[in-house]
């Protein structure tokens, strides 16, 4: 008791002493000081009052001052030239990078050869067999149908190429991620060192990873696989570490009390107990790898992504769709299969012999299928060409839906209005914002939501963009992100609230969200180009559609999981449903809602950047341009700016545990 009361009493005594002496203004200040949010703003305002006049006087109030920029074009071009010149002679390339790249190319080629040797029947049967044994009969049927559909669309060979690349990338990602996760799971120090790195990597858009890899490895399959690994390994590492660290302490203690050695504890208890997280990690890694493998077509990955990319660059929606559908199907099959493995099944008491027989029968079927059909790709005569009819339909849409629909206008009109009335003013506003104002705004937002550390990171990231000389373009990207996030949040919360309140809405929504959440970002570009043409508006639309499912899911789950006791007591006091929502559900679900905002920002940014491919301009286009022209300096600085922007946006919206105590 004494511990709690003495400081409180001392504080009370102190307060009593000062109160009469304090002037009225000081009292107001003190009342403000008592609120952590107001305290932070006061400190910031004081700092601004000192620094801003100085900054404004010396460097003006317009865009980022040129005195603070560093021109990296020369050194970067020099470095890239040096690498290109020395790629065939320097020892680092000959003995290390060369071998890495050779091994990757060899592995992808080997897998591709195996897939070709199995033939279409063999591959399809193998996929169905794996899905059946791992996740059940229903998923097996989905797998069978999906692979058949890939063949029917005439996309068998690109699908196999993508699959081969995926298999290698996923294998490497899982191995790397599991090793990192193991280290972080077993050692506190590694965990503390690794966690911020993994957190940050997860917030960065996929595009940011492309350029450093290209710098070293050039364009081709090897850098595509490597970029994929860099992008896809973090979730595996994260979930492995999480799983190993969250094992039931009671079980671990019991195992220790039986005299298990360290290795026995790991192999017989810790790893099996973390099985769910490990499989979830594999699932996440596969999904990330798929989305990246498609994006990596920009740096030389062939296969489905390349087809979509080529088709989109000529606005050939039909071909893009024909290549996009297999991507979606592949995503669904891979997701359901690995998720099925991770979900606990009620009773797995089937005898070992029966399981063995099932496997044997399956393998026999696969072998038979491969032998009868021969090592052939999908027969050409069995394909359905959908590109032409889709393009006809799209042309009809262009003629009839784009404009002139009475009352609502048309999709093109909508896009034009969005661009003219929302994006342009926002972009101009952001670009007209004094550079110190932007920094101050970011600092205030980040500090209010998070801690001074997150605020510092956010401000430094934004400043880094300025230093790189990418201020204007970043403000353009930022305006697209902000507008799309606003739309996403409005729509997302509007859907999440009914979903949280009515189980029926939730049941209806869940399969839709499931499908949408498994699709790679790239795919969303296809329908929006069909609907809105090219420009900034379709990129925003794709971003909204991509981010919406995650926002709806996180927000509705947060609202639904609000302490039922608190809800019940509010109801018993006679609160209306509006009051319940405003006064109980929203405040209690605040951490989840903030997480939804954070996810919206991160996901929207990743698509807005890719939107550079369909006329979104700004930073994304710079990256693509840099890659296409071999102008790595442009591409690299844009890539770093993207990373900084991602870091800044993530930190600004990152609620941390420390935020509560105002630390």
């Amino acid at each position: 008791m004494s511990t709690a009361t003495t400081p409180a009493r001392a504080a009370a005594a102190r307060a009593k002493k000062t109160e009469p002496e304090a002037a009225a203004g000081a009292a107001v200040l003190k009342a403000l000081w008592a609120r952590p949010a107001a305290r932070k703003l006061l400190i910031l305002a004081a700092a601004a009052a000192v620094l801003v006049p100085v900054a404004a006087a010396t460097h003006g109030s317009g865009t980022w001052p040129s005195a603070f920029t560093v021109d990296l074009t020369k050194p970067l071009t020099g470095a890239s030239d040096w690498i290109i010149d020395n790629r065939d002679s320097h020892w680092a390339f000959l003995y290390f990078f060369g071998h890495v790249s050779g091994a990757i190319i060899g592995a992808v080629h080997a897998v591709y050869t195996v897939l070709l040797a199995l033939g279409w029947a063999g591959v399809t049967a193998t996929a169905a067999l794996l899905a059946w044994r791992v996740a059940g009969a229903r998923v097996a049927v989905v797998a069978l149908a999906s692979f058949a559909a890939c063949g029917l669309l005439g996309m068998w060979v690109p699908t196999m190429r993508t699959l081969a690349l995926m298999i290698v990338a996923v294998a490497v990602s899982v191995a790397v991620g599991a090793l990192l996760g193991l280290a972080a799971g077993l050692s506190d120090r590694t965990f503390r060192a690794l966690r911020p790195v993994l957190d940050t990597m997860q917030a960065l858009p996929a595009f940011a990873y492309l350029l450093p890899v290209v710098l070293v490895f050039g364009i081709g399959v090897a850098p595509a696989v490597l970029a994929t690994v860099v992008y896809a390994a973090p979730p595996m590492a994260r979930l492995t570490a999480l799983g190993l660290r969250s094992t039931d302490q009671g079980v671990m203690e019991a195992v220790e009390s039986l005299g298990a050695t360290g290795r026995q504890r790991l192999l017989t208890a810790r790893l099996p107990l973390a099985r769910r997280e490990l499989l979830l990690g594999v699932n996440q890694t596969i999904m990330m790898a798929l989305s990246m493998a498609v994006i990596a077509s920009v740096i030389g990955a062939d296969g489905l992504g390349d087809r979509v990319y080529q088709a989109l660059s000529t606005v050939d929606v039909g071909s893009a769709l024909a290549a996009g559908i297999p991507i979606v199907l592949l995503a669904i099959v891979l997701d359901r299969t690995t998720a099925g493995a991770a979900s606990p099944r009620s009773s797995r008491t089937t005898a070992r012999t029966r399981r063995a027989t099932a496997w044997a029968a399956g393998v026999a079927v696969v072998a038979a299928a491969a032998l009868t059909a021969g090592a052939k790709p999908w027969p050409d005569t069995w394909t359905v060409a959908i590109a032409a009819p889709v393009n006809t339909a799209k042309d009809w849409m262009v003629d009839h839906l784009y404009t002139g629909i009475p009352g609502i206008g048309g999709t093109a009109d909508l896009a034009a209005h969005y661009t003219a009335w929302v994006l342009d003013p926002l972009r101009d506003g952001l670009q007209a914002l004094p550079w110190w104002g932007a920094l101050l705004l970011v600092a205030a937002l980040a500090w209010l939501i998070g801690t001074w550390r997150t605020a510092l990171t956010a401000v430094l990231s934004l400043a880094a963009i300025g230093v790189l000389g990418r201020w204007e373009l970043s403000m353009d990207t930022l305006s697209q992100v902000v507008a799309a996030v606003a739309v996403t949040l409005v729509l997302g919360f509007a859907i999440a609230v009914p979903a949280a309140r009515s189980p029926r809405v939730e049941r209806l929504l869940r399969p839709v969200l499931d499908v949408f959440q498994t699709m790679p970002q790239f795919v969303y570009l296809i329908p929006v180009v069909a609907l809105f043409g090219i420009g900034r508006a379709p990129a925003a639309a794709a971003a909204v559609v991509y981010a919406l499912p995650a926002v709806v899911r996180i927000a509705s789950e947060g609202l639904r999981r609000v302490n039922p006791g608190a809800m019940e007591s509010a109801r018993s006091l006679g609160a209306t449903s509006g009051q319940q929502l405003r006064q109980v559900q929203f405040p209690l679900a605040r951490p989840q809602l903030l997480l939804a905002v954070n996810q919206a920002v991160v996901l929207v940014l990743s698509v807005v950047i890719i939107g550079g491919l369909v006329g979104g301009g700004a930073l994304g286009y710079e990256v693509v341009f840099g890659l296409a022209q071999g102008d790595l300096a442009t591409g690299l600085t844009a890539g770093v700016a993207i990373a900084c922007l991602g870091l800044m946006l993530d930190r600004v919206t990152q609620p941390t545990k420390g935020a509560r105590d105002g630390a």
Binding site: V255, S257, G259, Q264, T268
Partner: protein, 371 residues
């Protein structure tokens, strides 16, 4: 015995085989001396320093340390059930973990069969945990991905016992704790009581010298708990294995314990037989603790008897000195006259209505104090 054995209201129904005297002269299995466990920064400086005498609150304020076990000494004798009881936070769970160094003690000595536990290297300690002391946990600590049989065999697997042998041994243990037929289930498919039987079987499978129980039945509902307690009594009767039993439940302590150590704030406030604890509480805390215990069911006639007058040692029913007062009341009420307490053929005293009622009313302690 009077057939009252199955009465559910009675907190104790101790069998005669279960007498404290049985183990009184047996050698000590665990011998604990001046054991301290302090959590916090520079914890090792607290025992023996000027801080050692402070109350837990003062200690936390001055050093930032929390003391879980404070200068505890006791012996666990071979073949006895030694109960450590106390409310939550009294340090009893920490104490039992110190015995096999699942929690490293801060200072003091622990010996098992005269061998220093604190000085053991990793290998010797592992050996101790594998073969000599096995533990049963409150939350079972079963491996959810293994079948019942494989869970029971787990300890043997760790020891490197061959598959056939360990499965045979495990099947035997599963049978022993009454789970025959459930060998292939997963722990998640069992009730709490069944899961704890698996935990018990796992501990027994290694055939340890001592069984350590850490509040094993606290998570179970009352009827199951009673079943499990009877299971432990039966096991102890059949095998005579030494047991250290941690509990916060007084009736469980009285029912199972040959001797009870009562803990408060990390210290042992009293250590003795159930009769000593209930009959002669060491301080007000213990007295308060045992206030609601039905005394007549714990105390024996040894406590109620008075010296026989000249003519009284010849007639009347005879009682063993370990007979509880409740049973003596039944005899005296039935015969309507006093009963003799006979030990080794010699009358050591008599009990009558007055002396027995005195015990029930709690007058005996004051009378003893006078005597």
């Amino acid at each position: 015995m009077n057939g009252n054995d199955a009465g559910t209201g009675a907190p104790t129904d101790r069998t005669p085989e279960h007498t404290p005297q049985a183990a009184a002269d047996a050698p000590a299995v665990f011998s604990v001396r001046n054991l301290w466990k302090v959590f916090g920064p520079k914890a090792d400086r607290v025992p023996g320093s000027e801080h050692a005498g402070l109350s837990p609150e003062e200690l936390r304020e001055q050093t930032g340390c929390t003391v879980a076990v404070r200068d505890v000494s006791f012996d666990v004798r071979q073949g006895e059930v030694f109960v450590v009881m106390g409310l939550s936070g009294s340090g009893k769970s920490t104490l039992v973990r110190c015995l096999t160094r699942l929690i490293e003690p801060t200072s003091g000595t622990i010996a098992i069969d005269g061998e220093d536990v604190c000085g053991m290297d990793k290998g010797a300690l592992r050996d101790l945990r594998r073969h000599r002391a096995a533990m049963v946990f409150q939350h079972f600590g079963l491996l959810p991905h293994r079948s019942v049989l494989d869970n029971v065999a787990y300890g043997l697997e760790i020891q490197g016992v061959g598959k056939a042998e360990r499965r045979a041994k495990a099947a035997e243990m599963v049978e022993k704790v009454g789970l025959a037929g459930l060998e292939d289930r997963r722990p998640g498919q069992l009730s709490g009581g069944q899961q704890q039987r698996v935990g018990l079987a796992r501990a027994l499978a290694a055939d340890p010298e001592v069984l350590l129980f850490d509040e094993p039945f606290s998570a179970l509902d009352p009827l199951i708990r009673r079943d499990m307690q009877e299971e432990v009594v039966r096991l102890h009767r059949d095998e005579g294995r030494t047991m250290v039993f941690i509990t916060h439940d007084l009736s469980e302590a009285l029912r199972l314990g040959d001797r009870i150590a009562l803990m408060r704030g990390g210290s042992v406030v009293q250590c003795g037989t159930p009769e000593e604890i209930v009959g002669s509480p060491a301080d007000d805390y213990v007295r308060d603790f045992v206030r609601d215990v039905p005394r007549e069911q714990v105390l024996t006639v040894r406590r109620a008897m008075r010296p026989a007058a000249a003519d009284e040692s010849e007639t009347g029913e005879t009682l063993d000195p370990t007979t509880t007062v409740a049973e003596a009341i039944e005899t005296v009420a039935r015969t309507g006259t006093l009963a003799r307490v006979v030990e080794g053929g010699r009358c050591v005293g008599v009990v009558d209505h007055r002396s027995l009622l005195g015990v029930v009313a709690g007058l005996d302690s004051s009378r003893r104090a006078v005597a």
